[in-house]
Subunit: 376 residues, 4 copies
């Protein structure tokens, strides 16, 4: 009989939107249940959160959790890291050392140094490591990647990727907004807020779909709100492999925007366009022909998107389903490794995490020098 995996979680307790998202995503397909957690650094809050979720085991510290779960029969099969960025390293390292696979929120760490330390820990442990770069979980993002890989677009030439929000358009970090506070704090968030938090999603999405790497960036990062130590907005020129050129724009002060991530790629034979807020539509723009509107669950879609779809066409799948697709692939790998099989690693992992960190570092350096080309 198909055993449900047992998952643990560190961070993501009450009030942290992303905690509930990880729980729903991890459990959606019935492949795993979260049974243990160290949900907060505040022990009372950790216990309270664990009770609200009905967890079987609540820990006051992640160190205890890693040690005890590794030791017990029926311990967790993997751990979810949903803490602020600066804690990714110690938490991930503790579980990897205990030989427990890790799936970690993005970005990989607060600094490139921390990220490389995580990479080292992954190498040493030999454990699986996943990164919840959510947006690559959307069926039509995978379809887009397949279309590019199949040559449907011809030779790629130009790209435009954007991620615009407005939740940091005012100085809410000074008014007790928990998430804004740590994201605008260099100690906890690292060298960038906007590029680190959402620019990396844009970069990862672009590289995932195009199959190309951003080779260098010419970036201008801005803090539009007075008094901020970190950027709340960024605009960049991009040079990708194979002579592809483009722009990446991300903003957290774009008034009226919710979560407007979009990607456009143009090749010699066709262009494509995708918007995260209407994720079940992918526009294909063939040369000299009408645009095509591809839809999640359309009978004409390929294997990559079909296997990431749970309902027939016309039943919209959203963010939680995309997130769950990352978990589905990761979970399947946990099962493979447990069964002695080769993992597939068909989800974002340590390499994607490192690339994003290098991208952030390059963007910040470029901007600090007044917008010059810096290699990623």
């Amino acid at each position: 009989m198909h055993r449900q995996l047992r998952a643990g979680i560190v961070g993501g307790g009450q009030g942290a939107f992303i905690g509930a998202v990880h729980r729903i995503a991890a459990e959606m397909d019935g492949e795993a249940r979260i049974v243990a957690g160290a949900l907060s650094s505040d022990p009372a809050k950790a216990r309270e959160s664990a009770e609200a979720w009905g967890l079987q085991r609540s820990y006051a510290s992640f160190e205890d959790m890693a040690r005890e779960e590794a030791a017990r029969d029926g311990g967790i099969d993997y751990v979810i890291v949903a803490t602020p960025n600066h804690l990714h390293l110690p938490v991930a390292a503790a579980f990897l050392k205990a030989d427990i696979p890790v799936i970690c929120d993005k970005p990989l760490a607060a600094t490139l140094e921390q990220a490389e330390a995580i990479a080292g820990a992954v190498r040493e442990s030999g454990c699986l490591f996943g990164l919840t770069q959510t947006y690559t979980g959307y069926p039509l993002v995978r379809e887009a990647r397949e279309l590019v890989a199949s040559g449907r677009l011809g030779k790629l030439r130009k790209v435009q990727v954007e991620y615009n929000q407005d939740w940091l358009k005012d100085a809410i970090e000074n008014e007790g907004h928990k998430q804004a506070s740590w994201r605008m704090d260099p100690e906890r968030a690292g060298i960038s807020c906007c590029v680190g938090d959402i620019g990396t999603h844009a970069q990862n999405l672009l590289e995932f779909v195009s199959g190309l790497e951003i080779e260098s960036v010419c970036a201008e990062l801005t803090s539009f709100v007075d008094g901020r130590a970190l950027d709340d907005d960024a605009s960049m020129l991009l040079r990708l492999g194979e002579g592809v050129r483009g722009t990446l724009v991300s903003s957290q002060i774009a008034c009226g925007e919710e979560n407007s991530l979009s990607l456009r790629i143009w090749g010699t034979e066709a262009g494509i366009e995708w918007h995260q807020q209407e994720p079940n539509t992918l526009i294909v723009k063939p040369a000299g022909r009408p645009w095509e509107r591809w839809r999640t669950g359309g009978g004409y879609t390929g294997e990559a998107s079909r296997s990431a779809t749970r309902t027939p066409g016309g039943h919209p799948e959203g963010y939680l389903e995309a997130f769950a697709n990352i978990y589905r692939d990761f979970t399947a790998d946990v099962r493979r490794v447990a069964a002695g099989d080769e993992p597939k690693r068909d989800y974002p992992g340590i390499e994607e995490g490192l690339r994003s960190m290098r991208f952030v570092a390059a963007a910040v350096e470029s901007s600090n020098q007044g917008a010059v080309w810096v290699d990623v």
Copy 2:
């Protein structure tokens, strides 16, 4: 500590899309787990399906299941009915008799007589009864209902509701398509295919949002595909309460349409428009002012939609989340009754089920008489 409820399911085994949907929806918020099932009338298939889902208890018949679950310690807290229409009555009746609350797929039954028998069983048992009229679970459908109730639209005048698909545009019921086969079979589906299956969603959505009842219909049902005993298309004129007029169109042969349910209502002060395939947008059309684009999770939305939303604005919620919202409300009522509190009944139930059955009966009768007005 918050105990997860134990749910059972009848029907919905492998190959039935709706079974997996019920499971994900019932479990999404961690409020319940499906632990027992009679997933198929074919015992081998039932067992196989139960193993794939990791169910603790699999039954060969729903009668056994009702009896044994009622008798055991730690038996199920409620049962999900996900069978074809004609089995809703015997299944629901068996569990209601065993004093187990029932949540049932729609439409309520294959015939009005069966539906009334279910209503009788509900009354006798005093048990909770929910109906998964999914589309009322969308946050912005609830927002729309609140807007109407608040008077924002003024006095209502005109409505247009549509539900267009194309999956029955060819005679796939003759080619072994399982769902098409029972939906086009009067024995199992009742007196209507298209109106029963999706016209009822349109009717329920319209009545839910408008707060009005369809008083009479003037309908033309058509079987465009040769040899069909039941309708695959319908167009109706509607008379609703308070002098409101409008149309309801539903089709399963509308080539190129996936699951295109939409609702438009116009009052003296404003109109509204909602499309199921882009469910996170609600258009409000005030007299003499620009249209407003309301979004799921917008800071300006009301309590009804906010409490049905799991993620911040811009993270699309879809069909599974809407479905889960029906479960969330039903589950809360199961807890209330268990705690001796009054249930809220803020989800579709037996009355909505009966209304839909009467609506189907009226539409069929109207059409049989050549499109005359028939009261619902």
Copy 3:
């Protein structure tokens, strides 16, 4: 050298939106200039309007104008009738009698009897007669007609056509609104306001694109605003030729709608969808394939739409250009007849005008009898 034609106009003086539209449309392609007019029944206003437009000849009455223009050297080549409905007959008859071709605003007349009298005058005179059913002038409406005729949609099955506005949602006819006053006055507008004014556009558009006739209607006309003698809203079931079924909805009280004319047709192989407010896009919905977004001026469009397009793709063409396309075709016919050639009659004419009048009569009769089927 290509001589510019000389046109005359009756009605459409200052304050009448439609007068300026006719002038721009008639002159847009440089084929004709309006040189003479009887712009108002009020002589002072007629003179003033004529001066504002720089007309060479202004007449106090249309009778004088018909007589004198017919008599003079260099008289007008055709006349435009832009008066309220009830004057179409006397004006058209006067010019037809004087052997001057007529292009007339729609609907053809206030009553079916008047319409038939105009048809008689056309027959007797042998003159060209055009009707400005504007919406058939849009390039993509012509493309849609070609797609249907080419068999791209397969056998047609279902249609939905709508025309929703809100300009009559309040009783502005009682507040001195000139156009509302005559449109709500049975003496001047005939037996219907909403169906006559805009329902006929919907009917004409549907018949033009589908190539089928509406054979019978089951209609409910409503006057939502108290005290109105004529309808401000209508909903109808339609039976068209070849077993096609559908609905036609038109409203002038649909709060927030501007001029929302749209057409959807579904066949066995594909569906199409067009919206007047975004007229440069036509959606084609092939079975089992992604929707296609056809655009005005796309290199893939056919001759019918290409010859109705003035600018390259991406330069939006609008209502005035569509109107001018009707004039362009009519003007070409005036030249053909003058040159002794056979006219092409590839624009709406007396037959289309009569059909619309019969459609209005059928809809009104159906509604008066409580929504029964009435043949058109």
Copy 4:
């Protein structure tokens, strides 16, 4: 009586799309007629084109035309320059010297030096000079400018402007495509193709609406098609006045794009978004409120857009109407000056032309140096 003005035109003969556009736009509102022209440098073709248009006077050379029209009674009131860029200077200079007002296609000239020479000629002559930066003629572009000026957006922060096409995605300049040939020829087009042709529209639109100037650019221009001497694509970082930051992207190789000019501006209180291909909609994005969809002809729009609108809301106005709005304003100024009144100069003129030329020069220099900041 209102005298129609007499216009002349140089260039724009048969086969040149832009010539017909100028003619329709200049004549649309009945304010002027084109009566004279030097339509081609090829005398036979000039004569033929003039006959097709029914011009009264056709000239073999623009020099003759300027001299003779200035000398004759009833000569032209103004001249339209619709030649390739490199001829703008000699043509404009000839007419300005003859004291004839000039309205000129954009960009102002092939080089900044030529542009400055035109500016000198304008100064010396004291004549009116207009530049057909068409897109500022759209009603909602003017509405957007008013909204920004009114403070509705608060303090501006971020902008994104784009102009994407695909008509130069292949080397059609080598296959006899007339317009492509001169646009890709440095002798006739100047130092840039893509930035000069369409980047300037984007720059002008942005500056027009925002009321701010682009102070410096960091640009990367690319020639994606082998063998091109000029750019077919550009991406730029922008620094505008008052600390506003943003990007400008223009491309002529963006496969599947027609004429996709769009503008987004975000301030502290609201954002706005406009797309040229659906020009009758302007999105306003207020902080914390639903987006508003402003429409051409909406009763709530301001004077600037209302006076640029010819039809009621819902009757789409397009590119030709926008173009005609530039002519309308220019023509009114010609009348004012003729009447001895002060001109209003409420249309793009010599200053806008010079700014665009400086912008092109800065972009080219920036790119030549590898994307460094260059002041405009």
